[in-house]
């Protein structure tokens, strides 16, 4: 079973983070939500592997539950 890679995998993390914020620049929150949704769908399709996706969903949920 393929596992979700949680080790560093981005060649240039700061560049990515900047690009992510850039993509949301000047958007009202509703459209930011829509952008995130589009991003999730595009990346999920690219990944394809359902075990990886399930693990990512579970970890993401745990992350927000623990923050609450």
């Amino acid at each position: 079973m393929t596992r979700l890679n949680i080790q560093p995998n981005l060649a240039s993390p700061d560049d990515f983070y900047e690009a992510l914020l850039q993509a949301h620049q000047d958007l009202p929150i509703e459209r930011s939500h829509a952008l995130n949704a589009a991003l999730v769908l595009l990346l999920a399709n690219h990944i394809g592997d359902k075990d990886v996706l399930r693990e990512a969903l579970a970890r993401a949920r745990r992350c927000v539950d623990e923050a609450a």
């Binding site: 829509a34 949704a37 589009a38 595009l42 399709n45």
Partner: protein, 576 residues
């Protein structure tokens, strides 16, 4: 011939002599409910030689168009029962669906992208026609006894049957049945009488059906709009029916007043918004509905068996209501006939439950998912829904996520105890438990269709090489007492010239006219398929051995250990 107005048809109440009998009269099977499912059950039982009484509390067929989409599988079942062609002749055939979001088309799908099938993916036909044709067929069958205005008001389980109290315009009488089939709809009074319930999810949304009569040139396709400019924020579904009637299904939202919504002065503006201000149309039938996805926990309770909406309900998106009900009785009736005749154990009927409860779960899962897409339950689910639709215009992957209803497909009974697992590899999506695929064939020099030649019993289809003949004793060696197997030899195109349709040994001969049958079944010379009476695959092998066939047959009728064949050891001889 002019069509009968089936909606206006008054079916005659006739006092039955059973009502005056001193002792309650006993019948092998009583079906309660003369809707599409109950009438199909009656026809199927009669086709298996079982006399059947049908009780209905009313004296009318369907009022309003109601269910309109009948699937390929339903048509194949109705073909077997002799009513398929009439349905198709009247119905509007369609294979293509289109999905629109806002102004533009985002996706087009073809539900039957290949040729070589007798029936289309769907026909649209008003329920009153479907019921009318089923009714006329049933009324012509000597084994079917239709009793209108016979309302069941009480049932009691007996160790070996059911006792019913029936109310008619002339008073009450009792009847006995070995088996009772409750095909009495989603509010099933029978279900209530035995203290059972259907459980599941109720959806907080309302939909309005406007069936309108008009001249229009939309193609015969299923058109589904999300958030169209003419009905903002909601969905709309358009379907063509016979007689220039069009089904328009408007999503209305939970807060709509159901009494106000159906008033013509409120419906007509919705239709005009879609068709344009000059459109000329008449309202044929208007109905507002909510829906639930729910089912009974068990479809069999002693000698009472539930089929169709009484057992399970889904949303209409996907056409999984009436179609799954017809498939319920297709699954049940051959089993019931074998059990009644004493050729299969009563436990065979429990496989009706396992197979059709599994099918109901599949239907409910599809229906629930479609509903979650069409009626988002939260702000974030609406965001994802609209994003999927927006992506779908340019991104092929997103089209697969668009869910305007996953349209009814026959259920594959993947883990059924009645199937024999493969012991070889096959390059075909059709595994044991799946419905046998159709293909064009030739039989006795005439073009025909594979599924239409299978009939209502077990069939062993053997793919033969050129000039190969099967031993005449194969059928008798493979069969069980009371459970015969019809052997059909499938020859390559042209190779059955000079062979009669059926030879003296009881083997039928067909030609694989276009080679599609062998391709769809991944068959080589010697490959054989055991096909159940409901046309699902029970087992398959790369070579014919009567003994293996007999064991698979025993398994398919719920017998653990088959009795040895009369012909003894010879039966296990490898034939190909």
């Amino acid at each position: 011939m002019a069509d009968i107005d089936y909606q206006a048809l008054q079916l005659p109440y006739r006092p039955h002599p059973d009502a005056r009998a001193t002792q309650p009269v006993r019948h092998p099977v009583i079906v309660v409910g003369a809707g599409p499912v109950g009438l199909t059950a009656a026809l199927d039982l009669a086709a298996h030689g079982v006399p059947v009484v049908v009780l209905d509390d009313d004296c009318r067929l369907s009022t309003g168009s109601r269910a309109i989409c009948f699937s390929k599988r339903t048509l194949e079942i109705w073909d077997r029962l002799g009513v398929g062609q009439r349905m198709v002749d009247k119905g509007v055939c369609w294979n293509v669906g289109r999905v629109f979001f806002g102004e533009g088309e985002v996706w087009r799908f073809d539900l039957l992208p290949e040729t070589g099938h007798r029936r289309p993916a769907f026909i649209n036909l008003q329920q009153y026609y479907a019921e009318g044709y089923l009714y006329e067929r049933a009324a012509s069958q000597p084994l079917i006894d239709l009793r209108w205005r016979h309302k069941v008001i009480e049932v009691a389980q007996l160790p070996d049957g059911v006792r019913l109290t029936v109310e008619t315009p002339d008073g009450r009488h009792a009847l006995l049945a070995d088996w009772l089939l409750a095909c009495d709809g989603s509010r099933s009074p029978i279900r209530g009488m035995i203290g059972q319930q259907a459980r599941g999810r109720v959806f907080r949304d309302r939909f309005l059906i406007a069936d309108v009569k008009m001249q229009a040139d939309f193609p015969p396709e299923r058109w589904f709009w999300f958030d169209p400019p003419f009905h903002p924020g909601q969905s709309v579904l358009l379907h063509r029916q016979p007689d220039d009637v069009w089904r328009i299904d408007f999503q209305m939202g939970w807060d709509t007043d159901p009494v106000e919504a159906v008033k013509p002065e409120n419906v007509k503006p919705l239709v005009r918004a879609l068709l344009g201000p000059e459109a000329r149309f008449e309202l044929e039938w208007v109905s507002i509905y909510t829906f639930a996805c729910e089912r009974m926990e068990r479809f069999r309770h002693g000698r009472i068996i539930f089929a169709g909406d009484s057992a399970h309900r889904v949303s209409p998106f996907g056409a999984r209501g009436a179609n799954s009900g017809v498939q319920d009785v297709d699954n049940l009736c051959w089993k019931l006939a074998l059990v009644l005749a004493g050729h299969a154990p009563e436990s065979l009927l429990d496989t009706y439950c396992t197979e059709r409860e599994y099918a109901a779960d599949e239907n409910i899962r599809h229906s629930t998912r479609a509903t979650d897409f069409i009626t988002p339950k939260s702000e974030i689910s609406r965001v994802f829904r609209n994003t999927v639709l927006a992506l779908a215009r340019e991104h092929p992957f997103a089209r697969a996520l668009v869910n305007s209803g996953r349209l009814s497909q026959p259920c594959a009974y993947r883990d059924t105890p009645l199937s024999t697992p493969d012991d070889d590899c096959y390059d075909s999506p059709m595994q044991p438990g799946c419905v046998a695929l159709d293909a064009p064939i030739r039989r006795a020099g005439h073009d025909d269709w594979w599924l239409s030649t299978l009939g209502g019993g077990f069939v062993l289809a053997v793919f033969c090489g050129p000039g190969q003949l099967l031993p005449p004793a194969l059928a008798s060696q493979a069969g069980l007492p009371g459970v015969p197997v019809r052997v059909v030899a499938v020859h390559p195109a042209g190779a059955a010239d000079g062979l009669a349709a059926a030879d003296a040994g009881g083997i039928d001969h067909v030609e694989d006219a276009q080679g599609l049958l062998a391709r769809r079944y991944d068959a080589r010379p010697g490959t054989c398929y055991l096909i159940r009476p409901d046309q699902h695959v029970a087992a398959r092998w790369r070579s014919v051995e009567a003994g293996r066939v007999r064991q698979a047959l025993a398994r398919a009728v719920g017998i653990a250990e088959p009795a040895p064949a009369a012909c003894g050891a010879d039966a296990d001889r490898r034939l190909a």
